[in-house]
Every structure is written in C-alpha cells, then in structure tokens.
C-alpha cells in the first residue's frame, strides 16, 4: 500500500490525540503539518515556530500569503488570537526552558530505547541539525510521525540506530502508518494498531523486540 493522503491524515489524526488544551506545540515539516486539521475547533493551544512565532494558525488562502509571516520551514502561515512574535533566541529559550510541551516531528530511524536519528545521512545528505536537537532533547514530549519502513521496505524502528543520532533516549511515542508505540523508561511498547494491520505484520516490519499492551487498541478511523 502506498503512502496516500488517507494514511498520512490517519497518522496526523492520531498525533492530534496527543494534544491537550493549553499546550505549546511545535510541529515539524511534512506529515506533522497536517495535525492542526484534526484538532477540535474549540481546542485552545499555541503552535510554536523556531523562527519566533507563538500562536501560528492555519495556512493562508492562495494569494493571501504574507512573505514576512512564515513558519520555520519558510512557508506562509497565519496567526491566531493571542499570538506573539519574538526573536529566534527567545523561541529557543522556550524550548530549552521546558515551556514547549510537545513536539511532533519526522524521523529517519528511532531506536528501541527512544534514540532519534533524523538529521543526517552520512555521505548523502548533510543538511545540518537546525532546531532538531533542542526540540528532541528539551520538549516536554517527543512524538515521532514516520513511515514504518523506508521506501525499500527496511524497518525504521531498530535495535540501535545506524544513522548518526540527533539525541539519545528522547522519543516518547512513535506513530507510523501501521501502529503506535510508546517508549517508557527505555522500553518499546506496542499499544495501538491502525486497522487492518496486525501484530504479525508489525513484528515483521520492526527490527527490534518490543512488548505489547494487553488491551491493544485498534484504530478504526
């Protein structure tokens, strides 16, 4: 099965469940940017951007973009009531000080014990770490949204990352196109499955051991 819009939005919808009212949330690029579409309208929260925005809203309509109002990826956004602008140093102060409650980001690999590898492919791609290290190391909760395997079918959840780490021991939850894992005190736990995927399939596509919760949730949406 390809990675259609439906699968991506399923993942985003599940990630949205991690958001509680009042949170400060930082979203990475890619699938995480779909998360706001799945929040109840009345949820009051603040989306944070590394360049210096608190209170990002939805994307502007085509033609209404403001070249000076963009997210950290350089794409036009809008702001909500209660938003504010700050310089990038203060934006990262919020992260380091633990005031960003949740970050939802993509990854290349995640290890069994929650190591994150999402910044570099040696010899291929050396883009630099940007703000990934601060977010991984300092956000209250780190949620990874990624495909269960890479385009060649190689598992991305592994015993030990082969790619250079962004930060050790930092991931709290992994949401893939197949399943949801929690990482608790260095242990990987399968807790949810996206229907119609099975434990057998997930086990086959995961390159490490994990435990399974007794009352596994099947996500039907």
């Amino acid at each position: 099965m390809g990675m259609g819009i439906d699968v991506r939005n399923r993942m985003a919808r599940r990630a949205a469940e991690e958001i509680a009212p009042g949170m400060v949330v930082n979203l990475g690029i890619g699938i995480p940017s779909l998360v706001p579409n799945h929040l109840p309208k009345e949820t009051r929260l603040m989306f944070h951007a590394e360049n210096g925005i608190v209170g990002m809203g939805k994307s502007p309509e085509k033609g209404l973009e403001d070249e000076n109002l963009c997210n950290a990826g350089g794409f036009p956004v809008t702001v909500m009531e209660g938003s504010s602008y700050c310089d990038s140093a203060v934006a990262f102060g919020m992260i380091r000080r633990g005031r960003v409650d949740l970050t939802i980001l993509g990854s290349l690999q995640v290890s069994q014990k929650g190591d994150l590898a999402n910044w570099i492919v040696p010899g291929k791609k050396v883009p630099g770490m940007g703000g990934a290290m601060e977010l991984a190391q300092k956000a209250g909760k780190v949620a990874v949204l990624m495909n269960h395997t890479d385009k060649n079918g190689v598992p991305k959840i592994v015993e030990s990352c082969t790619l250079p780490l962004t930060a050790e021991n930092c991931v709290d939850i992994i949401i893939t196109d197949l399943a949801v894992f929690n990482i608790h005190e260095g242990s990987l736990i399968l807790s949810e499955l996206f229907a119609p995927h099975t434990v057998t399939e997930v086990t086959a596509k995961t390159a490490c051991d994990f435990s399974i919760v007794e009352d596994i949730r099947i996500i039907e949406y």
């Binding site: 608190v54 203060v90 919020m94 000080r97």
Partner: protein, 230 residues
C-alpha cells in the same frame, strides 16, 4: 473576561504558590515595576525565610523593600542594597545573607535561567577580588572570563501594564526593566497586571513577554506606596 487558558486568577489563588523558605524572584528596579499586590499578599500571609532574587532591595517601604525590611528574607541575591538601609543593617547583623552580583551580570544570570542555559561567561569583574571570589574561570582565546551561573526561582513575580488571558505581557516605560527577564526565569510565573485585556487585543508585535512564560495573571490595584521623590 473569558479565561480560555485558565491563567487569570485572583490574588488569593496566587497566594497558594507562596511558602516559607521558597526561592522568589521579583521584577523591578528601585521599586519601579515591582508588583504591589503580590508583595502585600506575601506580607499578609507572613511568608518567611525567603531567598529573594532581584536587582535591588528597593526602599524600606517601597517594592520588595517592604518584605526585606520586615526581616522576611534569609538571603538576597542582588546588585545593590544601598537604597534600603534596613537591608544593610540586617546584613551587618548577620540576619540576612547578601550575594552581590554586578548589575549587568545579574540580569544575564536571570536571563540565562529563563532561557534554559547553565551559565554565561563575562569578563566583568574577572580581576576583581570580591566579584571573582569562589567563581570558576575559563580562558578563551587568551582572555579570562568568569563563569556566572544561571538563576531560576520556584516562583517569579512581575508587574505588567497589560496582560491578556494567555499571559502575554507589555510593560510601562522604564517599569519594564528586569520584568521580562524575571518572567522567564520562574518555574511558575505570576504577572500582576494593571489591566487585563481580551485575547487578541494586544498587537503580536508589541508583546514583550510571550505568555508561554507566564502561568498566572492577576489584576493589580496599582502602586500603593509613596515614592522617594514624592
């Protein structure tokens, strides 16, 4: 006023966050920009053995000075206490410990705490017997620096001109002073605001302290002390 983030509270609710022996950071400079109602609340609740962190100890009956003069602080970290003679007496009698930091170094230590940093390196006072005493040092590119450690507090109290329900703050002229720094350095930050305005009524460009750093907002009755110049 709508309270969608649950941050708007009363003085009584704010008072639940104060207790004996706590570390308390306060905004203000010579009393200007210090939160009057919170200070009175602390006095009324008879909180004691405080460790106070802020620019100075105000005047005996102005700003944080009201708390200091009544002997409620066991330690103060400040840049000067000269405008409050009672503070000097308490220090001389050994009843209150005072840790002096050069003013600019102190503000950077507070900011570093607020920004989640461990310390800053400065050459201010690096050759100074009193300032450098007991501090770690480091040489970078042939130049000596002091390691000046970050400061945080269990609770920070600040005084704002306006606050919105998210805790976004703007300050009034030179009453801004240390308030934006102190607001960031509290594990729990309470802003006393002269005016609480609806969400969306502050221009996102004018906000000095983002509400991200503010946990509680209470309305202020305004300054209730007599200034030295009055």
């Amino acid at each position: 006023m709508e309270n969608p983030f649950g941050k708007i509270a009363t003085l009584e609710q704010a008072m639940e966050h104060f207790y004996d022996g706590m570390t308390l950071m306060f905004g203000g400079f010579g009393g200007v920009g210090s939160p009057p109602d919170l200070i009175d609340g602390i006095l009324e609740k008879e909180i004691k053995n405080l460790v106070l962190i802020g620019n100075d100890t105000g005047f005996p009956e102005i700003g944080i000075g009201k708390i200091v003069s009544r002997g409620k602080a066991r330690k103060v970290i400040a840049s000067h206490i000269g405008s409050n003679p009672v503070a000097g007496e308490l220090m001389t009698r050994g009843e209150m410990e005072v840790e002096f930091s050069p003013q600019g170094t102190l503000t950077e230590r507070i900011r570093a705490g607020g920004m989640g940093l461990g310390a800053i390196l400065t050459d201010v006072g690096v050759d100074h017997e009193f300032v450098a005493k007991g501090k770690k040092r480091m040489n970078l590119n042939g130049k000596d620096y002091l390691i000046e450690t970050a400061l945080t507090a269990e609770v920070s109290i600040v005084y704002a001109k306006k606050a919105d329900p998210y805790g976004n703050l703007v300050f009034d002229k030179s009453a801004r002073n240390t308030n934006p720094l102190v607001a960031m350095a509290g594990n729990f930050t309470i802003a006393e605001a002269q005016e609480i305005v609806p969400l969306g009524s502050l221009d996102p460009e004018e906000i000095v302290t983002p509400g991200v750093f503010v946990d509680m907002v209470i309305p202020s009755g305004g300054v209730n002390w007599q200034w030295a110049w009055e």
